[in-house]
């Protein structure tokens, strides 16, 4: 199967970083522009999927030693528990809030609790997609 994937591997090495950057951008842009946790997470996971396609599973696992089931579980827990934070302030479960802060370099910046929630979603998506991909591909 793997005779001539030099081109794919070379392109992937560069493309993966572009996709990852784009994924992070989408994640952060989601508040005001197209993007968000789900789509950001999907983009990030497509970068991982590309890596697994271009190189074999062992190589990638050696380079990125991560248990994606754990990533998924962490994500789900973050999004559930970020909702519980609101309870401590007497609000309903999962209510979000935002405020504007003057930060040193960024100037006036909006910080929102929804980022926490969305990061949980993104991690959940990355974890699940890569877990499914790896399990199916290893099932030969």
């Amino acid at each position: 199967m793997r005779e001539n994937d030099v081109i794919l591997q070379t392109v992937s090495k560069v493309a993966v970083f572009i996709i990852l950057t784009f994924g992070v951008y989408l994640f952060l842009a989601g508040h005001h522009n197209p993007g968000g946790g789900f789509i950001g997470g999907l983009t990030l996971s497509s970068a991982f999927v590309l890596l697994y396609l271009a190189f074999d599973v062992e190589t990638v696992n050696a380079g990125i030693p991560m248990d994606y089931k754990m990533v998924a579980a962490t994500g789900v827990l973050i999004s559930v528990f970020s909702g519980m934070g609101a309870l401590l302030f007497g609000s309903a479960f999962l209510s979000q809030t935002f405020a504007y802060f003057d930060l040193p370099i960024f100037g006036k910046t909006e910080l929102a609790t929804v980022v926490l929630f969305e990061s949980g979603i993104a991690l959940g998506v990355v974890g699940v997609v890569v877990t499914i991909m790896i399990s199916i591909s290893e099932d030969v």
């Binding site: 946790g37 996971s45 309903a92 699940v128 877990t131």
Partner: protein, 804 residues
């Protein structure tokens, strides 16, 4: 959120920490870690006694799901305080006892204490909740933790059987109680118990009033093991003895009594309530004590005795509810004594029965058997245990100087008063109560004596015992000693208990009697020579006689043979329903995938198509539609061609690619309609699914044209076309039916409301974050499902269970 919320959650959270603590400190007996929880909680509730006894109440509410009137509302009054003290007090003693009962080496202690603490939290939740739905939640949680604890030694068949039985019966009753709760909510419009009590007068004429009453009582009867639902309790004795002492005598089985007491201000005074509660209670009292005498296993004997005692308390609550008939008046004050006796006996029962269970546990632990045919003569070997057994069982028999005597006398007073009632056609039937109560008490005396005589007196036969009996270690004796001390103390100082605990509980059960003179009777051990005393004397004489002559009259029990018992009925129903449902399921679960697709799509077609047709919703209105542009036309053409192409493609690869064309075209449509978020998502999803499909490609069989006959293919074609047409019709009809105003104007303010200019994301992450959270949870479950299906599947020739 107030402190009580935290207190309910502490045991439940600690339950999750227990396994971690167990791993961190492998040398520690986990019981010591668990013991801290009930002790802390107990001291808190004790510190609340002064406030509650001056008739204050503590209430607090935490919003949960406002739209469903679901609040985590707690309410601490006299009634719930008694129960919280029992739960945490007996809980502390039981945990202490279990430390010496369960071996650290042989038992899975982290499971045991996790379940036990889970139960403790659930039970506190039941007695402290003010919201019906939250109460129900905790109610079922007690059933679940009881199930886990009964099945603690799950390798024994009998444990599993007992666990399943108790679970089916109590949860079944719980569900009927839930229906009753929903009826109450329909009648009153609120889930708060206190608000419902305040609305008592306005709902009594409602047509749902009596059905709700019966359904809620079903929940209480199943939980408190009332006839004919009592059959689960003897089988629940398969649990470790600390569990039996805690759940199945002191706390969980009293949840039904709590429920009855809690709802007495709502339903009390109603004739159905009166007859059901007192009638079922008094009969259970008799039947339990009658069946207890025939038992050979000490724990089974105690189980039936618990059933009997629960029936006794239940009947007292029923008799006392007559006081609410026709409002509070000085004439009906005499009936309230029954409720007072019920509360008093409830406390007493927890002390002596808890001690008795622990004594039986000690005997079982040190001797190796609980069979009274083998036991005997242990008095000289286990003197302390013998003393404890005498104190607790004499209290149960109703002898002075133990607390059981006082409450038994009050019980007799209550049934004698019932005889003189002039309401609810008691003139005719009233005499039955004192008679049944008296006969039941005779049997109670008999089995109480059996416990003491057969175990500790009589001949000692070493050859029948498994171990060399000796006195229990001091750690195991502390808890029953404390309980027995209570038994005696309560006899000498009952009015202390009355002042601090019973009278506030009386006011919470009978709020209407708040200012009525004489509602709190003074308990005294000596009333003079009255009928109650003579009844007790008769009980002692006849009970002793029955015990001496047991050999001659035990043929009576042959009238109720095993094969015609209620137990057999339960097994018959269970096996019949299992077989019936298997037959029914086998009929349609063929294991053939196309059939399942037929069910799914056929159902959709019938339901959705039928609804569309019957309601006349097929309205196609194109007047508001935007004109179709050239690009859109081209895209539609491309998609239609690709879709048709799939039908005629020769290889799977072509079909996959054409399917991809469809997906990407939809993304282009999202671009055309200016929905960049959706377009992005669709693009990436399409990419990922295509990769996924390529991965699966390896496993798929050769693509072959279907060459079946038209007869096989025709229904498939019909269903496919039907689904396509239906989808199009629904999509078009949506535009033609505007039943509600659009809600989109609300979301347009997303920048002010959620600080985000991206409406789509504000909806996902803020306005409807609950959906998103659950979606990611579902996604995770699906991912774990795929992983386990693939990674953990049985190897060829391995586990064959699935392939039969």
């Amino acid at each position: 959120m107030i402190l009580i919320h935290v207190l309910i959650l502490i045991p439940i959270l600690t339950a999750f920490l227990i396994p971690i603590i167990g791993r961190q400190f492998p040398k520690l007996h986990l019981g010591w870690a668990a013991l801290a929880v009930p002790i802390v909680l107990f001291s808190f509730f004790v510190s609340k006694i002064p406030a509650i006894s001056s008739n204050e109440t503590i209430a607090g509410s935490m919003a949960w799901i406002e739209a469903l009137d679901l609040h985590f509302a707690v309410y601490l009054d006299g009634l719930s305080l008694i129960f919280t003290l029992l739960i945490t007090g007996v809980g502390s003693l039981v945990v202490l006892y279990s430390i010496f009962y369960l071996s650290k080496e042989r038992e899975s202690l982290s499971h045991f204490y996790a379940y036990l603490l889970l139960f403790m939290g659930a039970m506190l939740g039941v007695v402290l909740s003010d919201n019906l739905m939250v109460l129900y939640l905790f109610w079922e949680l007690t059933s679940i933790s009881s199930f886990l604890l009964i099945a603690f030694w799950f390798r024994r068949k009998k444990s599993r059987y007992g666990a399943q039985k108790s679970f089916l019966i109590t949860v079944g009753g719980g569900i009927s109680m839930l229906v009753g709760f929903i009826m109450l909510k329909v009648m009153t419009g609120t889930n708060s118990v206190q608000e419902i009590i305040a609305m008592r007068d306005s709902i009594q004429e409602h047509e749902l009033f009596v059905p709700a009453l019966v359904l809620i009582l079903l929940g209480a009867f199943t939980k408190s093991a009332q006839f004919p639902f009592h059959i689960w309790l003897p089988d629940a004795m398969e649990a470790p003895t600390p569990v039996s002492a805690y759940l199945h005598s002191a706390t969980m089985v009293k949840a039904g009594l709590f429920l009855v007491a809690r709802f007495t201000p709502v339903f009390g005074g109603e004739e159905t309530w009166f007859w059901l509660v007192s009638g079922v209670g008094i009969f259970t009292m008799f039947w339990g004590s009658f069946s207890a005498v025939r038992q050979k296993d000490l724990k089974a004997l105690l189980a039936y005795s618990t059933i009997s005692q629960l029936g006794l308390i239940m009947s007292l609550f029923g008799l006392g509810s007559a006081a609410l008939q026709g409002g509070a008046s000085t004439e009906s004050v005499v009936y309230t004594k029954a409720i007072y006796a019920a509360l008093f006996h409830l406390v007493n029962h927890s002390t002596f029965k808890g001690a008795l269970f622990m004594v039986v546990g000690i005997v079982d632990h040190e001797v190796g058997t609980r069979d009274i045919r083998k036991l005997g003569g242990l008095i000289s070997l286990m003197p302390i245990t013998f003393t404890l057994a005498v104190i607790s069982s004499f209290s149960m028999a109703g002898l002075p100087p133990f607390n059981g005597f006082l409450s038994k006398e009050m019980f007799f007073t209550a049934v004698l008063n019932a005889n003189e009632m002039t309401v609810f056609s008691m003139e005719t039937w009233g005499l039955l109560f004192p008679i049944i109560a008296w006969v039941g008490s005779i049997f109670t005396f008999t089995y109480s004596m059996i416990i003491v005589y057969r175990t500790f007196l009589g001949p000692y036969r070493r050859e029948k015992l498994e171990k060399d009996p000796h006195e229990a270690p001091i750690g195991m004796l502390i808890s029953p000693i404390v309980l027995c001390a209570m038994v005696i103390l309560l006899f000498f100082f009952p009015n202390r208990l009355s002042e601090y605990l019973l009278s506030p509980a009386m006011y919470s059960i009978l709020p209407a009697y708040q200012n009525v003179e004489g509602i709190i009777p003074k308990i005294s051990a000596w009333h003079g020579f009255n009928l109650e005393l003579f009844m007790t004397a008769g009980v002692v004489v006849l009970g002793a006689f029955l015990m001496k002559t047991f050999r001659f009259w035990n043929i009576v029990y042959d009238l109720f043979p095993e094969h015609r018992s209620l137990d057999r009925g339960y097994q018959w129903i269970l096996s019949k329903s299992e077989r019936g449902s298997k037959k029914a399921t086998d009929r349609y679960m063929t294991g053939f995938l196309p059939n399942y697709l037929y069910y799914i799509y056929g159902f959709l077609l019938l339901m959705l198509g039928g609804t569309l047709w019957l309601t006349g919703s097929i309205v196609i209105d194109t007047s508001n539609d935007a004109p179709v542009s050239l690009y859109e036309g081209i895209m539609v053409f491309i998609m239609a061609t690709a879709a048709a192409g799939i039908l005629f493609s020769k290889s799977r690869m072509t079909a996959t690619l054409l399917n991809g064309v469809l997906g990407y075209s939809i993304a282009i449509f999202f671009v055309l309609f200016r929905a960049p978020d959706l377009a992005l998502t669709q693009l990436v999803v399409e990419t990922v699914t295509t990769v996924l499909f390529l991965l699966c490609f390896y496993h798929l069989p050769e693509w072959s044209k279907e060459d079946r006959s038209l007869k096989v293919r025709l229904p498939k074609i019909a269903v496919s076309i039907g689904m396509g047409v239906l989808t199009v019709l629904i999509a078009l009809s949506v535009q033609g039916n505007k039943l509600f105003d659009s809600i989109s104007s609300y979301f347009e303010n997303s920048y002010e409301l959620a600080g985000g200019r991206n409406i789509v994301n504000s909806i996902l992450g803020d306005f409807r974050a609950f959906d998103t959270m659950l979606e990611v949870v579902v996604l995770f479950i699906a991912g774990v499902g795929v992983y386990t299906l693939i990674k953990l599947k049985a190897d060829q020739g391995g586990d064959e269970i699935e392939r039969k």
